[in-house]
Each structure stands twice: as C-alpha cells, then as structure tokens.
Symmetry: C2
Subunit: 488 residues, 2 copies
Amino acid sequence: MGATMTLPSPATSFLEEATNLLGQRGLTSDPELVETWLTDWRGRYTGRALAMASPASTAQLAALVKLCAAHRVPIVPQGGNSGMAGGATPDDSGNALLLSLRRMDRIRAIDRDAGQVVCEAGVILQHLHEAADEAGMRFALTLGGKGSATIGGLVSTNAGGTQVLRHGTMRAQVLGLEAVLANGEVFDALTPLKKDNRGFDLKQLLIGSEGTLGIVTAATLRLLPASNGRVTAWTGLAAITDARALLRRVERDLGEALEGFEVVPAHCLDSVLAHQPAARAPLAGRHHWNALIECVSSSADSSDLRDKLETSLAAAMEEGLLDDAAIAANERQAEDFWHLRDSISAAERALGPAMQHDISVPVEKMPEFILAASPLIEAAFPGTQAVAFGHLGDGNVHFHVLAPAAAVRGEWEEAEGKAVSARVHDLVCEWGGSISAEHGIGQMKVDELARLHDPVALSLMRSVKQALDPDGLLNPGKLIAADPTACT
Amino acid sequence: MGATMTLPSPATSFLEEATNLLGQRGLTSDPELVETWLTDWRGRYTGRALAMASPASTAQLAALVKLCAAHRVPIVPQGGNSGMAGGATPDDSGNALLLSLRRMDRIRAIDRDAGQVVCEAGVILQHLHEAADEAGMRFALTLGGKGSATIGGLVSTNAGGTQVLRHGTMRAQVLGLEAVLANGEVFDALTPLKKDNRGFDLKQLLIGSEGTLGIVTAATLRLLPASNGRVTAWTGLAAITDARALLRRVERDLGEALEGFEVVPAHCLDSVLAHQPAARAPLAGRHHWNALIECVSSSADSSDLRDKLETSLAAAMEEGLLDDAAIAANERQAEDFWHLRDSISAAERALGPAMQHDISVPVEKMPEFILAASPLIEAAFPGTQAVAFGHLGDGNVHFHVLAPAAAVRGEWEEAEGKAVSARVHDLVCEWGGSISAEHGIGQMKVDELARLHDPVALSLMRSVKQALDPDGLLNPGKLIAADPTACT
C-alpha cells in the first residue's frame, strides 16, 4: 500500500510536524539564522543541528518535546548562548534539534508585596534587573553576561556571580519552577511555598542539571527591596592570607551589608591597566593583592554604612591587614572599580594563551590553596604563570595558568594546556574542592568529571539521568558521560 | 548433599550474619529493648520488626545495608522516634529491620572559624545546641522535640520549627551530607563547598526524602555566631489580617533581627490557660488573635533592639494593627511567652478529639485562607471548630479541627475525622498549598499525597525512587505509594 509514493525521510517528516506545531516563526533551518547559535560565544565549540526551534509557550514546547520523543530527536536547549562550558552547543552529528528559549521572554507576574517575580526562561537577566528596579525592588544576582544570559540558562547552570557571598547562587533565588520533562509532560512547581515537605524536592534536582533532566520554561524568583545605595572600596594588601582576615573583619563589622569581596592579584591589575590605557589604578602604589569590597545599604541612609566601612578598614590597617584603601567617592568611581575587576578575563586573554579554571575549595582553605598550588603548577610547567582572582569569600577563584612567553595560541592549549588543567584539577580534588564552582560541566568538563568525581556520586547521577530521560534525548553528551561499563 | 543438616531459616541466617557484623550490642531481638521503638511517640502507629540494629559507625551501617540488600530485608531507619507522621515506624509484617541511628551520636568536628559542625545522625538536637553554645556559636533551628529529635531525622524530614522565618528549614542548615545508599555504598558529600556545580545536587534529593532514598549518617551543618540576647513580645490583635500587616511592619523596621512570628487565636490561649492553671495571660484583655514576636540581636547590644521593637509596635498600634502589647521584661518572661505557644497542642488535645493538619499556602494568602476555610469546615461538619495557629510568616499553620462536644475519642477520628481531613486537604490544594508543610508524609499521608499531588510530580518521584532503591528496601510504604498502574 502506497508503494508508489515518495516516502518522506524521517527527518523531513519530523520537521514538517514540528513546523505544524510551532508555525514558520517557530522553526527554521535557514543557515543564516541558525549558524550564529551553533558556536558558543567564546568560539570554542561548534556543532550542527537539524533545525532551530523557537517555541512561543510552554504548551508549544511540551508538544514539541512529545514529538521529539516519538521521533527520537535529541534536544539541545539554549538561552543566551553565553555559557562557559559549551553546554548549549550541539555536537557535530547534526541529529539534534537546537531549542532556543529566547522567544519565551515574558515576565508573567511581579508581586512587590510577596517579593516575587515569575519569569519565562527567555527573560534576559538585564531585563529582569530593569523590571525589578521599576517595581522598587532588586534581583540579587548579577554577572558579566547579564546582557545576554537568560533566566532559563541561569537556573539550569545554577549561576553564581559577584553577589553570592551574601545572597547565594541562582538556587537560592529560585522559589518555584516550571519545566518540560523528557516525555513532554509539564512539571509545574511555580507556586512558591516557603514550607513544603511533600517528598523529594524535584525543583532542586532540575536546578543546575544543565538541561539534561528537563527543560526549564519558567521560574518564580525572589526579589529583595531596592537598596539605598552602595559603598565600594578598593584595598591594597601584601598577602592573600591577609585578604581572608580582612574579609572576616569586614563581615564582623558590616554584617549582612557586605555583598561583594573580590580579590585581584597585582598581575591581573597590571594586565587590565596595560590593556585599557584609559583605566586608572585606584591606589597610588602597587600591591601584591587587591580586594574589591562592596557593601549595600537596605536602610534609608547609606552614609552610616560609609562610616562603618571606613572605621572597619582603618582598624584593619591598624592591624596590618591592609596597606592602603580607597572608598569610591561616587557611583561613577564605584563603577570604575568594578570595571577593573570585570576586565580581567579579557585583559589576561590578550596577553597570550592561557588555561582557565573555575574552581572552589572549602572557603577557609582558599588562601592556602592558592599559595600551595601556584608554585607547584609553575614548577611542573616551566615558564607558566598561575594567576588566581575572584570570589574569595565563596572559596571560588578563577585560577588561570598563563602559557610561557613563546607559546603559540591554538597549539599550546592542546599540547601542554590540557596537562596543566589535569594537574590543576588533580590538586583541587586533593584539597576536597570542585572542578566546577560556578560554570557547570557542559561538554568542556565531561571527561574530567568522569575521571575525578566520586564514583558513587557519578553512579547516582547516571541512575537519575536514566530514570528521568531513559532515551537520552535531553542535551546528550553534556554533564554526564555514558557509563563506560554499561552494556548497552 | 547435607540433606540431614537442619538448615537455618533465611531470617536466622540474616540475623546471625548481622550480629557478626554489628556485635551483640549492635543487634537485638529482645522484645523489652525493641518494643518501645515499635510505636511512634504519639501512639498512633505500631509495627513489628525482625530485630533492631544499632550500628556504631557509617562503615558498620554500610556493611549491614549490603547484607540487607543480599537478603532482601527491608530497613526502617529511626532517629529519636519523635516524628509526626509515622515515618519511622515499621509496618506490621515483621519483615523489616528496625535501624536505630541513636548510637551514632558523635559530633565529629566543630569549626568556629568556618561556622560549621559535623554531626552524626544520632546526635540529639539539644546536644547540638549545647555544643554550639559552648563554642560561642548557635545552631539556628529548634523545635518542640529537641530533647529527642536527632540530626538524621531532622535532615531526613527537612524539619522546620519556630526560626524558619529568618533562617529557613533544615535544608538551609545543611552544608554537607553523608548517607548510605540502598546498595550499601557510602555517598560522601560532607565537605562543604559554598559553590559547586558538578551536576545534580544529590544532597538536596536526600534531604526530606524520609529515608526512602538513602540513610543519612552524618551532616555538616551551618553555625551562626552566638546571639547577644533576644527581645520577645506578646501582642493582642483584632484580626488575622492585622497579624499579616503587623508582621510586614516589624520586618520592615527590624529587618534581619526578626526571627519568630507565631500567631495564636483566642481559643488556643484560652485552652492553654485552662489546661495549665499556673500559666498567666500575658495581656489584660482577651484578643481574637495574639502574635508572639521574637527578635534576636547579633550585635553587642540588645537594648537597641528593644527600643526598635517598642517603636515599631507603638507605630503599629497607632495604625490600629494591634490593640495591646507586652515586651518580656526578662529572659524568664520570654520563656513564659514561648511556653504558652508550645503548650497549645497538648492543651487542645486535652479538650477532646481533633484532627490536626500541618499545612501551608503561599505566605501572602494565609490570613485569607484561614478566614475562608474555617467557616467552610465548620459548616460542612456541624459542631466542629477550626483553630489555626503557628508560623504565619512561613505561610504555615497547624490547622486543627476540634470534634463536636459529644464526639467519642478514638471513634470520631476514624469516622467523621477522616472526612474532615480530606476536606481540609482539598481546600489547601485549591489554594495552591501543601498538605505537609513541615511534618513530612511518613505513613500518615501516603494516601492523601497519592490522591492529591500533581501526577507529574508523583510520577517523577516514583522514577527517582525506582532508580535509587530498585528493590524497595528503604523505608517501604513511606512517602510514596507504589504506582497503582504499575504491572509488577
């Protein structure tokens, strides 16, 4: 029957059905529209895709996922494509559907009294900040990619940023969640309940699962009352251990007002100043270490806070914890301080090839880790230089290893660079730390996770993945490698 | 071969092997020792058990669980046996091993600088409070059963209590976790990392899973600096909606210092005063509602806090939010206020039969829920009286329905009482709430959860349970009912 018909290929049939579901705007195979999303923003990973789907609603996405399940089409969810680990880039098989959540960009509701906002997955972080601001509130998570990063991506990767010290990672902001599961069912846990002990907290399982267990479509997020100004200081220190002691002192003196504490070694500041001739050093002298400190006032008056921070820093100077300090005179200068911090990655990249590591160890141990690990790496790989900067108060630094002067970009990374990273990760594990503090695993660290993570945890993760996505269609190849001993 | 031997029964063989593993002290079948643990503390559930195991260490427990897996012996973990939902009581088959964690009661380490303590599962909450106190710190979760509740039980049930408003439930206190899985492997995630994005947060999955996914053996818990005194107030109000407005005002004025806000209707206070002739009413008049407010000072001086609370309450009185208020003059009086609050359950029980419901709705909606639900229940079940008290700031109240005057204890609960509970739970679900805010599901609410919970969430939970405990040996019959449509 029908033997004379030209049967459509399975892929064609799938694409037709998907177009019927999503409309022309919802599905495209046009290379000009798709190509830019097939490479991650840092240009490290490039893949191919069957097409790019852009559903307009959770219901459309649920129907699409059901269709994918029926046709066994893998799905690679993508938000702002600003991830750091290649988690939103498909492999090069071309079998997968690239799923853009960017069209689902509505803020469904904002409730000032309850301090809550319901965002769809495609809402850009910057837009959320603006909407919160207009409502006289604030959303207490921010990071460099805020102009492109989406709520769905931030939830799926449990993003961090520079306010984790006080407000926690994305996990701490999520009060409710909506997601489409591998079978196309909608998991609706958007209603925020402060206390709810009806079994396993499935929301927590989805947060940080990088689209491998479900596709986050919306989240109810915590809003805080708007702040009443901030006080930002740049300090110069002799040693990283002093930075830890300084952090403790400021925590004790300023309490909950302390929101940011970032450390910057001399090398990073030098690089930024060399890379951006217009930038100015905040302090007169050169210091081995710098700490950028930010306090935020929630009460009516921030002059009080300024006095408190001045007193605290003066006492710290008395104790010999710091050599010099400048408190930003105005908002403009505070922005300048932060701009120095935010320019480190770009400035270091301009210097030449480097391997970057987003690592954490127990908070208390980080200064000692930096002091111990840096010379070990530099000795094992002559000519390299280890540079650590970032979120000392979270036990999380970006540990960059710069290549020797003669190294060729694109070659060194593949040759010596990989060995450098393996050694850094080995050290992190020896210190009880994490090879991914805030960037996730994506495709970049799948092998390293499989090599270094606790086998019991890996096996648990595989069991959960198998249970929730038995056909392996959700973001395949990301986060967990297939079990090498499995007999499938 | 060996046909003339008397073969031991499988159970005997298991018990012998278990005794070899745990020693005489670690395993007993002596009814006198076991019996008291076969009934929950409120006397609602009684079960039977093969024996009671009391391992001395995680390693011993891991070996025991492996043995149980080999012999297909179900395990019912138990801490202080002070749960509210029968979650630690075995069924009456007598097939299960009752597993006491009480012998594992070491505080392994306390780190003042890092603000952390590592407790074994059997550490009693009261002991943790004392140990923290000795170290100049405090553990910010407390509840009525603190003299018997253990850390393992508190983690497994994600316990709440009276400080959740400010400090969150047990989940928020857990920085690291150790558990024995169904196959006897040890999941070791005790090392606390403030930022760690290595895949699914398995720790979160175990918290609140009531021993159905793994057996918590130890936890790293958050400690806070010791407080510098508290200020406790008892206030009288005309309406529950005023209580919500009062809470908002005090939150705004006192900020992070506000730690407790409990509401008590006139009926509850009357019951307590009638039940405890020595107790005194904190205020001269009788008020429809009372709110117990507690603020805790973390800075050097609490007199400041007292002034602030006085000012805040005076302003609230100006606004007509409250009719009268008394601030405890000293620690003794503060204790007396709390004693009134903590005596409600016992006093209400003394009045006659009642159905108790531990429910939550979105925080903002709780006053309206109480106002709407109480008359509906009282109309549907003539002669009953609905009484709601507790954690208004968490959207969580204990919603008790007192039986009609003529009701006979032990009969009414089984007859009309069950219908009352079903109706209360229906209403809670209509309001988007939870039928278990802080007590968990245990065996008490398994059927109601299966009846009322989102089928998508239930199915997800069953998948996770199947993945982590495929033989169903961990606390069987608790939390999730077997899938009625499953064809096993």
